[in-house]
Subunit: 454 residues, 2 copies
């Protein structure tokens, strides 16, 4: 009987993360402070422990994974590489389709890959508490789980409207021992000021970030943690691609195209960057692997944004980062793939895209749900709406292979399950979901507000 799941022993969990900076043609452009000067490590030390700051700025190719982190990874890693045979048959495509299933983590997505080392480095630095923000709760859950693994207190500022409407991820965070506050809250000056003006403020991700950062900056025993965008987050996620390379070797196959959903960029970076190392050396089997970031047409950062310095958050509190952006005050339409509703993108992903080393494509909401349902009916797993973006692009390519007769090996990142997104599937079946294709006017307006640099 053919094996559909290519598994690794736990002893094969990678010992190092891969830092793509070592193989980039040009060094990454630094984040800039309000004075237009590069942000110094000392400035970052107010909210991050030094090991994380070092990783953020490192150009070393291999960064060792601490043994206590690998021990927690053992709870679910290595994640399986799965051959989607039934999907291939359903599509009647000559393409071979594989996916890496990150939904096997306790929190149900790839996010714990970085939450766990972030918790560990904070513990090592003597930190007792971590603050973070969350929208729908995916990242907050991952940080709650990771904090619990190392005995750290975790405080999550959860956007109030999600706190009220999506109680189940809040319950998960509490099950893992985290404190969860509806943001804006009375815990911070930011929150109190906002509540004084409007007691019914529904909150936003920008406000929640401000609260979490304010608390971390004001207490020496407390750090802040971020779940995407930054270099160290992308670094930690490379465990996905590192494992996948071992698994493809074991399967005697190698991907010609890799697809991953791309919002802040960490799931794309995680699966794609390790293959960039091979591409930099000319590619395995004599050709490079094409690496395709898949984003929503409603928030088309790479495909329709511009490459410029912009704030990482809506309110303009963060340093300026050189990235593809739709403008920091661009408000994406309310698609259900909440993890992809980000105006910017990882600076590393952005620079690689700018230099032509990776590709990007945008897909629309209805098409992604159609793909997700088709996938679930073939393979069983019900994917998260974010993952459906990668599935859509993979299916489109598999159908092109059917036309052309090409026997390509396609590979995508199934970043998480959709167990907490069934309301979105419900709306899809009820015909209530909309497509929001390329909101050109809103993007034009927000791009006009880009900060001036230099």
């Amino acid at each position: 009987m053919e094996s559909l799941r290519i598994t690794l022993e736990q002893s094969e969990i990678p010992t190092h993360w891969y830092n793509v900076v070592a193989d980039m043609p040009n060094p990454p452009l630094p984040p800039l402070g309000p004075d237009g000067q590069p942000v110094s490590p000392e400035q970052m030390a107010a909210i991050f422990p030094m090991t994380i700051i070092e990783q953020e700025m490192s150009a070393e190719r291999w960064i060792p994974i601490p043994e206590p982190v690998r021990q927690v990874y053992r709870l679910w890693r290595p994640s399986p590489l799965i051959r989607a045979r039934r999907l291939e048959e359903l599509l009647d495509t000559p393409a071979r389709i594989y996916y890496k299933y990150e939904g096997v983590s306790p929190a149900g997505s790839h996010k714990p890959n970085t939450a766990v080392p972030q918790a560990f480095y904070n513990l090592q630095a003597g930190i007792k508490r971590i603050t973070t923000e969350t929208g729908a709760g995916q990242w907050g859950c991952s940080m709650a789980f990771a904090g619990q693994m190392f005995g750290l207190d975790v405080r999550v500022y959860m956007v109030k409207v999600s706190y009220q409407q999506k109680p189940f991820r809040r319950s998960m965070m509490q099950t893992w021992g985290a404190e969860v506050f509806a943001s804006p809250s009375s815990m911070t000056q930011t929150g109190r000021d906002l509540l004084a003006r409007d007691a019914d403020n529904p909150g936003s991700l920008g406000i929640a970030i401000s609260e979490a950062v304010e608390e971390a900056a004001s207490r020496s025993d407390t750090s802040y943690a971020l779940g995407s965008v930054l270099n160290h987050v992308a670094l930690h996620q490379t465990i996905i691609g590192q494992e996948a390379k071992k698994q493809f070797e074991k399967a005697g196959d190698w991907p010609e195209m890799i697809f991953a959903p791309c919002g802040g960029g960490s799931s794309f970076a995680g699966i794609a960057f390790p293959f960039l190392a091979d591409n930099a050396a000319g590619g395995r089997h004599g050709r490079p692997t094409r690496l395709i970031a898949v984003e929503p047409t409603s928030c088309p950062t790479l495909t329709k944004g511009i490459y410029a310095y912009d704030f990482g958050d809506a309110s303009g509190f963060t340093p300026l980062m050189k990235m593809y952006t739709l403008g920091h005050d661009f408000m994406p339409p309310g698609i259900h793939a909440g993890g992809l509703r980000y105006h910017g993108d990882s600076p590393l992903v952005s620079q690689l895209y700018h230099e032509g080393l990776i590709e990007a494509v945008a897909v629309s909401q209805l098409a992604t749900f159609e793909a997700g349902v088709l996938f679930a009916r073939a393979e069983g797993v019900i994917p998260a709406p974010e993952s459906n973006h990668a599935i859509r692009a993979t299916i489109d390519e598999a159908l092109r292979c059917k036309q052309s007769g090409e026997v390509k090996t396609l590979f995508f990142n199934l970043t998480g399950h959709g167990h907490f997104d069934m309301a979105a599937y419900d709306r899809y079946f009820a015909g209530e979901l909309e497509d929001f294709d390329y909101p050109a006017e809103a993007i034009g307006a927000s791009l006009a507000h880009l900060p001036k640099v230099g």
Copy 2:
């Protein structure tokens, strides 16, 4: 680095199910029809295909698993055997604790282990449609998934109050292509009669069963499928214990005590019966493995019921089965482990308990949630409320080992994840959950209504 997960290759998926009937000291007592005579295969053929009826009545020790069923099992099986190291450390126990994690299936529980072969045998018999009932939706999801795997239409009658209050498992069923009707429905005579009397009838599992059976009995292209209690269901679930035995051999360990939640009995049968085969031969390593069914104190079928012929359903439509029962019209208190709210038990499990070959223990609701939260904080996985019963009993034994200093190997069935049960965890944290210990008066009343036999 020590391996916490003991995995098997997909080629090691068992080729046969184990039929405990071959090793029982006495043959199983047959189900009886309304005339007091054993139900004939022909009578069962109105709603089940012949292969399933043969399995229901078989005394063969090994029943081959059809290759197409093993091919679908490959989507998630073999499930991992996991050493709960962090839980052991948290409890500071010398006991070694292992669990089999069945939550890795697409539907999130052990139920697809039987839904898949049931769908296959129906397809083989030329059946086009399957009807079934579901309460909270766990079984309906498994049948929807399994039907989709073999291209069968699946109709699920879902208790109306659950249909309205728990929409997410309904969405899952629809994602896998099933039709879901709120029961009572206008699709059947049973439903129409009830709705004529009360248009707001909230439904019950008994009504939903009646609707599903009525539709299956009235159409030659349609069969009915049941998710627990019956012998063929227990048979299909033995894949759990069969895999576990291979995994313990690989780990160089062997369980001294096995714990599983027990409602209708299939998850207990699935993990325990294969070890009974060894017990019948004197046990491995010179001693038998103790097999402990864990039930709720609020519905203590084995520990407080009587061993008698009773109806399988509340309304008295089914054949009479010899089993431990609290009386078919016993209405269990509204605990959150919905899968354990059953007045009776598998006739095989009941007979083995009656003959002293297995044990049973009852645990109360608050203690099970306490155990589930403790487990989640140690091991990451958030368990289903049903699974928390096995976890409670395992932790209690591990704490006894701590007292006595005994180095026992404990093993439990983590039958499913709790992603669709977070509202119950919410209520636990809010202090809103109740204990319903031994409802003696209600049980006394329902036991007075047992049918007279012979």
